[in-house]
């Protein structure tokens, strides 16, 4: 499985604080090891085929997009960016 960081994602990471970067990198490590591991909490975006989100913290998620497989038929995900995504428990 391959992961390609988009330009937007890289710029976002570089502009962010060291603390946030650490959280993102921790998530990337889990994600690259196994996107479907329970801790990653990979979820599809309803109505947007190929788009997924992965949990960074309870209030932040990564946006991913699965694109065409590469020539070796490996699945490829673009890491698009991240943003606030509060999990709601009323």
């Amino acid at each position: 499985m391959l992961f390609k960081p988009t330009r937007r994602f890289r710029e976002q990471v570089l502009a962010d604080s060291k603390t946030s970067q650490k959280r993102i990198f921790r998530t990337l490590k889990k994600l690259v090891r196994d996107p479907w591991a329970p801790g990653v909490n990979l979820e599809p975006i309803t109505g947007r085929k190929g788009f997924w989100t992965a949990r960074v913290t309870l209030g932040c998620r990564l946006l991913l997009r699965e694109v065409e497989p590469d020539e070796k038929k490996q699945r490829v995900f673009h890491i698009i960016g991240y943003g606030t995504h509060e999990e709601i428990y009323w």
Binding site: K29, I45, F51, L63, V76, E86, I88
Partner: protein
């Protein structure tokens, strides 16, 4: 208030109304005008209609995505803040209600009950609208990604290499 662009879609923060409600409610003796009593449900319906319109315009390429995403996030944050405040207003009302019940002031009990119900209606509407705004924002982020150049970064199968690339 961050509603300049989203107002075109009928999505506005209910802050002004709620501040008014709170000011009125804190006194717990002032009649609520009918139009404010019906506001939470009306605002909810308009906001949900606005979200649908925004997504359909975004799909058709007719929405300023960066602006809409930023404003939706600001509106969502504001509604969360108001939710917490309104919970406080409601609790305050319940304390007042206990007091007027003890005083056997039937008219005051009715007025306080009406305000508590209004706060509850607003809370119910906010509970439904907050996740809808959040999910719409993430859909807009996906729509934006569809038309965006991803850049020329390599693809990685190793997290350490990926992280090194990001910070290089």
């Amino acid at each position: 208030m961050p509603t300049l662009y989203l107002e075109q879609f009928g999505i506005s923060s209910p802050a002004a109304v709620l501040v008014h409600e709170q000011e009125e409610s804190r006194q717990w003796e002032i009649e609520q005008p009918a139009e404010i009593q019906s506001m939470p449900q009306q605002w909810f319906r308009e906001a949900m209609g606005g979200v649908r319109k925004l997504l359909s315009d975004a799909d058709a390429g007719a929405a300023d995505l960066d602006k809409a995403i930023a404003e939706l996030e600001a509106v969502e944050t504001e509604i969360r803040r108001l939710y917490t405040e309104t919970m406080g207003v409601k609790r305050e009302g319940e304390i007042v209600r206990a007091k007027v019940v003890r005083q056997q002031d039937r008219e005051a009990v009715q007025r306080v009950n009406r305000n508590i119900n209004l706060a509850q209606q607003w809370l119910d509407a906010a509970k439904a609208v907050i996740p809808a705004l959040r999910d719409a924002r993430w859909q807009l982020m996906a729509i934006r990604a569809e038309s965006e150049d991803p850049g020329d970064a390599p693809a990685f199968d190793n997290a350490d290499d990926l992280i090194s690339y990001l910070v290089s």
